[in-house]
Symmetry: C2
Subunit: 305 residues, 2 copies
């Protein structure tokens, strides 16, 4: 039984009001698999990189017990590269550079040893590639979580609609939920999206937390109020990875377990934004994570007598 | 022991994407006192109206056991009138008309029978008038809650800063917290504002809920996700009134009680926005309120094992 994460493994160059980085390791699959690895020890990734990607970084996945057999290395090609600059409010950013490189013709090959996948995280990629992964798994996973973004709603809506028919949990932000549904009210947006295929919808609201819809219920998770967001890059992927990692750990798919999975995912995301890139995500202790989760408990709990 | 509410009692004309009203009864003190009356039966108001204000509306305060001895009626003058139009997203609005009328020279006279005030709600008004009310109370109330808005930060900042030195709980929205503190991070904003006088700060985030800061702690309350917001007018005043009404009911000022007061205030506000003006707030049953509060419990509760 394993957790398969598909997505980008890539280079980012990030500029925030607090500083800027050279090319550092990023990508949805990197953040999501690192986050998941704190809860579950059979995380496997499918992704594509060029031969410019440092061997030491590949080895670092191994240090987190992340299986990289499905990580394709294209000789003579370059890894996907994204560069962006955050505005002062950290809620919006400009993309400065996008070089698809190896991603342009990514064919997601699933190693035989990955066919025991029961939990599948489809990180943000073209919906066509996400769908191919589902089709190549011989057994339908117990839980398929898919992340996507407005970009695919703009240029590949039909593929996106076809793909979300096949999944269990869709994670998007509030603006994307409004775009996908054509409804401003998030309750109405969720009702509409839940008729499109997914059984559960998670609406990510950044500093305002997250909403989970499904089984006729709603759960509202807080975000941890932070003194400083240093670099928001990867927070959504980290959230999704923590979410599915926790679900794989507990094993049983239920609304109740998803509520806790959202809290654990949010806790991981709150670490992610404290430093540039994946830096903070590389060396967390179980104690740090539990302390952070307890902060969420204190933050949100109240008792009506 | 009583709860004193000061603020406007006025006329509003409201236009939303769902329709428009003629002049209907509104005003911060109207919403706040109605909301408080569901928790506490000794609510008293200080406000000023013209003789254009219908007697039946004054009697309706009585039906909610709201004492109107402090409601000044100015012969031959007109009540404060505001008219506004909400945009399609309901999060922003344009003011069409503001006629101060009786409010222009409002002198808040406190009847002797109001001197037993232990809980004071300073609804949104000029900070100078809010301060006068505090000064005219012979005994300092046990809890002073003050609502204000960006308008006073723009035109009467010094008066505002003088007044918030004298209060216990300040309620403002997130944009106002940022404006007042000059800090973008709400955690830093709260830290700064809590050095300006108030012991507690409530940041209202509309559809994203509310944050309570104080005693070195933070509480994050969800907002109830609604299918439709029909008319947001008065939601903040209703929240504040429900908050202080619940505090007056329980009597003891503590962070713990304030958390519940925020949930009760949020529940009342969630009713308020379901119809135009005060309509929905006039005939709530205890059962409806308790059911709504239970929805908040279901929405927010999770259990980390």
């Amino acid at each position: 039984m394993s957790l398969l994460v598909i997505g980008t493994v890539a280079f980012d160059a990030i500029e925030t009001p607090f500083g800027k980085t050279d090319k550092i390791v990023g990508g949805a699959a990197t953040y999501a698999s690192l986050a998941a690895s704190y809860f579950f020890d059979k995380v496997k990734i499918v992704a594509v990189i060029g031969d410019d990607f440092p061997q030491s970084e590949i080895e670092d996945f191994g240090h987190h017990h992340i299986d990289t057999e499905g990580l394709q290395i294209k000789k003579g090609e370059k890894s996907f590269f994204w560069s962006g600059k955050y505005h002062n409010d950290m809620n919006s950013r400009d993309t400065l550079i996008t070089e698809l490189n190896v991603l342009a013709d990514f064919d997601p090959i699933i190693p035989d040893s990955y066919q025991d996948c029961e939990f599948l995280m489809l990180g943000n990629l073209t919906p066509q590639v996400q769908q191919t992964v589902i089709n190549r798994l011989k057994n339908r996973p117990k839980l398929i979580v898919m992340d996507t973004m407005n970009f695919w709603m703009d240029i590949a809506l039909n593929d996106l609609l076809d793909t979300i028919k096949m999944i269990d949990v869709l994670t998007i932000n509030d603006a994307e939920a409004r775009q996908l549904s054509g409804e401003y009210s998030l309750v109405k947006a969720a009702q509409k999206i839940l008729t499109m295929g997914p059984k559960y919808l998670i609406i990510k609201k950044g500093e305002h937390g997250a909403l989970l819809f499904g089984e006729g219920k709603i759960f509202s998770a807080p975000a941890l109020p932070l003194e400083e967001v240093f670099d928001p890059t990867g927070a959504g992927d980290t959230f999704a990875g923590g979410f599915i990692g926790y679900m794989a750990k507990v094993g049983e798919v239920s609304f109740q377990n998803m509520k806790n999975a959202i809290i654990y995912g949010s806790a991981l995301a709150s670490f992610c934004v404290e430093k540039f890139g994946t830096e903070k995500l590389r060396h967390l202790s179980a104690e740090e994570i539990n302390d952070r989760v307890q902060q969420f408990v204190s933050l949100a709990q109240f008792e009506i007598l």
